[in-house]
Symmetry: C2
Subunit: 187 residues, 2 copies
DNA sequence: ACATACATGTACCGATCAGTACATCTTAAC
DNA sequence: GTTAAGATGTACTGATCGGTACATGTATGT
């Protein structure tokens, strides 16, 4: 299977898993919706779980790159970027394809910490926290570890709440809370 | 089926769904682990989805009662109770049976807002927000709606993060953030 | 002993599941 | 034309899925 076919499979499978869930999506549905044959799929992925992990890794890469880029566009200084995260979240949760956090869903469906799928979701969160920590450090936060963690918790809470309830009335209080926390640590 | 048998089924099914997920749990597994026959199950629940909804409703009741009681035990004043929520969360996420939020999992596996299961999860969140709003109002918050929402977002973020990464280093920053937000609104 | 209510046990239905096997097709290079 | 690589299509395996049907067992009241 060519690399481009493999990438196409992962991208399309990602969209289906994100929309419908992991257990609720069988391999036959993926065949039907991607137009890629089952034989081809099993040429690149030993198991369905391996395909799921590949989709999570792609999602991690696309997601962090997108957020990083957007946050840099919207925020001129590191301090501004910390707050800009919530503007980026606002754009996302109000988008038509918003369906919550793929990693939260993955760890919900694969709850054991020993599961490679759960581990991949945990890895994403770790990387994202590192991303936040970098910016908080650059912004001169008094306790960048704490601030990064707090902003991450608000982010996760906002995403989950927007997914369950809908996006209304979620980002404004999150952003206000973030502003307060940021101002408490950064001049 | 007697009421007590029905309650037993719901309680046991709740534990299984919470531990293993909804789609990953078939009716035969529930039969095997509860010792209740399939015929009996279908005497009280038209469908598996109906059983899931019953487990979510029970979970909502037990959860809110438990949190409410514990928060009142740990916090003398409404202001203290707002912060005490995070101590209660700390107890929960460090417990051996902690497996994240059942409602977040449910809405993850049933993403459509039109799904009765998703709607039941959303209802729980709405009720919990109301619970927080009551305490914030009693505590004399300047903007109780905002404060309640912010504390809920921190709570959701803490739960989700503890489930994905493990409980370490989650509640301390959440609690510190909550303290700051509370002090900003309540003398 | 009999009737009734409650419950169990399990075979069965049609469908779907992950993964395998293999025949066949398409394209490209030589 | 031949070979090789990449891919499709689909039947198949054994298992599981939600839900139904029905025979059988148990407990209780009369």
């Amino acid at each position: 299977m060519s690399a481009s076919k493999r990438d196409e499979l992962i991208q399309k499978a990602l969209n289906i898993f994100y929309r419908d869930g992991f257990h609720a999506t069988g391999m036959d549905k993926i065949v039907k919706e991607t137009g890629i044959s089952k034989t081809s799929m099993y040429k690149h992925f030993r198991t369905k779980d391996d395909l799921i992990i590949a989709t999570l890794r792609l999602r991690d890469e696309l997601f962090r790159n997108q957020i990083f880029r957007r946050v840099e566009e919207l925020g001129k200084t590191p301090k501004d970027q910390l707050l800009a995260l919530f503007d980026v979240l606002d754009e996302w949760i109000n988008g038509v394809e918003f369906n919550g956090c793929m990693f939260i869903k993955a760890s919900g469906e694969y709850p054991l910490h020993s599961s490679p799928i759960h581990a991949t979701a945990a890895e994403h969160k770790k990387l994202f926290l590192g991303f936040m920590l970098d910016i908080a450090t650059q912004a001169g936060a008094k306790n960048p570890n704490e601030l990064a963690e707090q902003l991450l918790l608000l982010k996760e809470g906002a995403i989950v709440t927007a997914h369950i309830r809908g996006p209304e009335g979620v980002i404004a209080p999150a952003r206000a809370a973030a502003a307060l926390l940021i101002d408490a640590q950064i001049d």
